[in-house]
């Protein structure tokens, strides 16, 4: 699941409450919760149900805020996200295929 290195541990750790995210991004709680409903961000929850965000989420929210200002809609943002995700997936697939060819090559030598 970890698509990032150990080094980025703090970037993805979900530890920030919504109030702090508001301060960091300048967005309202309402907006932040709405972007979650539109599947643009994915905070974790405490047992009680309080949202926890990562610095990565905060960066994403800044990005969202800019694009919303430019008139983009959440549905478009969502599509854009999925494109990037499938690109990442494609790269993984390619890597896997290349490894497969190498394995086939070495298997022939055996």
């Amino acid at each position: 699941m970890a698509t990032h290195s150990q080094k980025d541990a703090y970037l993805y750790k979900k530890v920030i409450t919504i109030g702090t995210v508001c301060e960091l991004t300048g967005l309202s709680e309402r907006q932040i919760r709405y972007y979650e409903k539109r599947k643009l961000i994915f905070p974790e929850r405490t047992e009680r149900g309080n949202r926890k965000y990562s610095f990565s989420d905060v960066e994403m929210l800044m990005d969202i805020a800019n694009k919303m200002e430019d008139g983009m809609q959440t549905s478009e943002l969502r599509k854009e996200m999925q494109k990037k995700e499938s690109k990442r997936y494609d790269n993984k697939l390619k890597e896997r295929m290349i490894r497969g060819q190498l394995n086939a090559y070495f298997n022939k030598r055996d």
Copy 2:
């Protein structure tokens, strides 16, 4: 004031509430507040007065917890910290002196 690079920005940003710090460190609120009173950690405060910690603070607390388990006292920990700080200060001073000598050298050449 920044003794760290841009890269560590998220390491020093004070964004974590005490409850989350408890979860991350396994310490009680009482303990965490006490170590602050003993000047071992320095959280920031929101306008209202709520404490905010950084990942760096969390790391320090883990360190403190280990040493307390080993029977060390907060006063000793404090001394240890100050030694490290003064060592950092000494290094800065040395650097400054070396630069001074170099400047003196180049000034002579002029």
